[in-house]
């Protein structure tokens, strides 16, 4: 029988919750470059290192490109490695994102999501993380500071699993979560957390006693096979993520399914979103239900690998699925990345809901319960009139209206 874990209930924002998780995960190396709204994650980790609460090496670098490069080196040497960034910082890392995953390095990174320049916006949307979709990182979206803390711990377990060995990204809303204080349970003593994610010695690392070369050129005879291993690793990650969720829930009592639903069982219309505004959506569902609308909510927690089984299972009985995306794929008819993903899955299903793609909250355009209610009403009306739009709806743009 494992000893009972004692928790401290602290007022923390998501950035500080992540810093606590990094400390409790006994990370060896942190390399990062400051960018709003991520900065205080690394500030707090520096404080923990300076206080002696975390025994880690902090590498100060001159850019995000260097930050992730330093992480690649440290991870290749066998260290447990963490970094954090947002927006342009993630874009500057982009080249190294592929190197980290291609070298199969279990780096964990958090993203305080932020809109991309130009024009400059320090505010939240998911354009940055969506741009990293094809970089072969396991990617999670979280909805509370508690979930951010818990997910960083899970991320190390997933990344370092011998069947996975891929880097993991945990993304949460810049400002809306990174700067909002809320209650978070953190471990009184990090020992049980560290026991949950013991440091493994079973991957190939740089070692002068047993020399290996990492990252040499792969000729056409072999490149494809090596990349196919990443395909397999992602398939394994799908299983390992779910196993980790179960183990975490069993050990610590908090469960975050890859797809979460709320009041969806008897709903005719389902609204799917991710990140902080899933909370707003939940409260919107209660308001709409009290008015007799048959609606429910779906939260996508896992983005890569895409949890297609759970998504299909959740939505198959719906008449209409509304997917509220927070990034734009410019020039696509269906411009919401998650909407596009789900629509491609539904092609193989005989029973399937209509799908309505909505873009919301770009550059932190406010999203309220009322927005969700109006979107649901519009969806219900169009469903009734059999004219669900065949292209994305851009909700909340001044001068653009739908009826």
């Amino acid at each position: 029988m494992m000893p009972e874990v004692r928790w401290r209930r602290l007022p923390l924002n998501a950035n500080y919750a992540v810093a606590h998780a990094v400390k409790d995960s006994d990370v060896d190396v942190v390399a990062a470059y400051p960018i709003t709204p991520q900065t205080t994650v690394v500030e707090k980790i520096s404080e923990f290192i300076a206080n002696g609460e975390l025994d880690a090496e902090m590498i100060h670098v001159e850019s995000e490109h260097s930050a992730l490069s330093a992480c690649v080196g440290a991870s290749a040497a066998g260290a447990r490695v963490f970094t954090a960034t947002a927006a342009q910082g993630l874009e500057l890392m982009h080249e190294i994102l592929h190197i980290a995953s291609g070298l199969r390095l279990p780096i964990v990174m958090t993203i305080a999501t932020r809109a991309l320049s130009a024009p400059i916006s320090i505010w939240c949307d998911y354009s940055d993380v969506m741009n990293a979709r094809d970089a072969s990182w396991v990617t999670m979206f979280v909805s509370s500071a508690q979930e951010a803390y818990d997910s960083v711990i899970q991320a190390f377990k997933i990344a370092e699993h011998p069947d996975v060995l891929l880097p993991v990204m945990v993304a949460y809303d810049g400002f809306i979560m990174s700067h909002t204080y809320e209650p978070v349970l953190v471990a009184e003593d990090p020992a049980p957390i560290r026991e949950f994610i013991p440091k493994r010695r079973d991957r190939i690392v740089l070692d002068p006693e047993k020399p290996v070369t990492m990252g040499p050129i792969a000729m056409p005879e072999w490149y494809y096979e090596i990349k196919y291993q990443q395909v397999e690793a992602m398939k394994n990650a799908y299983r390992v993520v779910k196993e980790t969720i179960d183990e975490f829930a069993k050990r610590f009592g908090r469960r975050y399914p890859v797809v979460e639903t709320y009041r969806l069982e008897d709903a005719e219309i389902g609204i799917l979103t991710y990140g902080a505004i899933y909370g707003t959506l939940r409260e919107a569902i209660d308001i709409m239900r009290s008015k007799g609308m048959k609606v429910g909510a779906i939260k996508l927690r896992l983005w890569r690998p895409f949890p297609y089984e759970e998504v299909l299972q959740a939505i198959k009985h719906l008449k209409l699925l509304i997917v509220a995306d927070r990034a734009i794929s410019y020039g696509a008819r269906i411009a919401g990345p998650v909407a596009l993903e789900i629509m491609s899955l539904l092609l193989y299903e005989s029973e399937r809901p209509e799908v309505m793609s909505v873009v919301i909250g770009i550059g932190q355009r406010t999203v309220t319960e009322e927005d969700f209610e109006q979107i649901a009403k519009l969806g219900a009306k169009w469903l009734e009139e059999k004219r669900i739009p065949r292209e994305t709806i851009y909700w909340g743009v001044r001068g653009v209206t739908y009826a």
């Binding site: 209930r9 007022p11 400002f175 809306i176 809320e182 902080a276 409260e283 406010t366 309220t368």
Partner: protein, 190 residues
Amino acid sequence: MGRLEIRWHGRGGQGAVTAAIIVAEAAIFEGKYAQAYPEFGAERRGAPVRAYTRLSDSYIYTRSPITRPDVVVVLDPALGKELYLPGLKEGGALIINTKRSLEEVKKMIGRSDLRYAVVNATDIALETLKRPIVNTAMVGALVKVMKELGLAPSVELDSAIHAIKAVFGDKLGEINAEAAKKAFESVIVG
């Protein structure tokens, strides 16, 4: 669903954001649920600043901005009322740092549905902190107003002081706690 939404108005440097966080921390220390967040944007000393606290007896899911607060707390008496009155709920409470009397403030604001409270937080801050940083005094005033008007969920003075000490550390925490206590005792609620 017991919830109380508070909007703080001050100028950059007066500590409105810290005040919003202190009240949330106090509620969290009491085992309640809370959110506190600044008006998200670039911060400049002297510019009007808003911050928000949401208190609840149950888990808070929403991430919507607070647009219809139950309570408005004004740290800077020189802010125009057009900055802080919009959205304040019918029957809500307005707490102002001012040297003026309750009657003068009521006349200046001109809304008969509101509950009013005045406190000379600037003098309290100058006396205790030797600096015109009024945020912790206004926390003390808010705690008293919540108690007097029976607003819920609320926080106790003890937990507010605990939060103040957690935020400011030992030495600064002590004098800031003193400012909060003085404002708690001297705020006039009408």
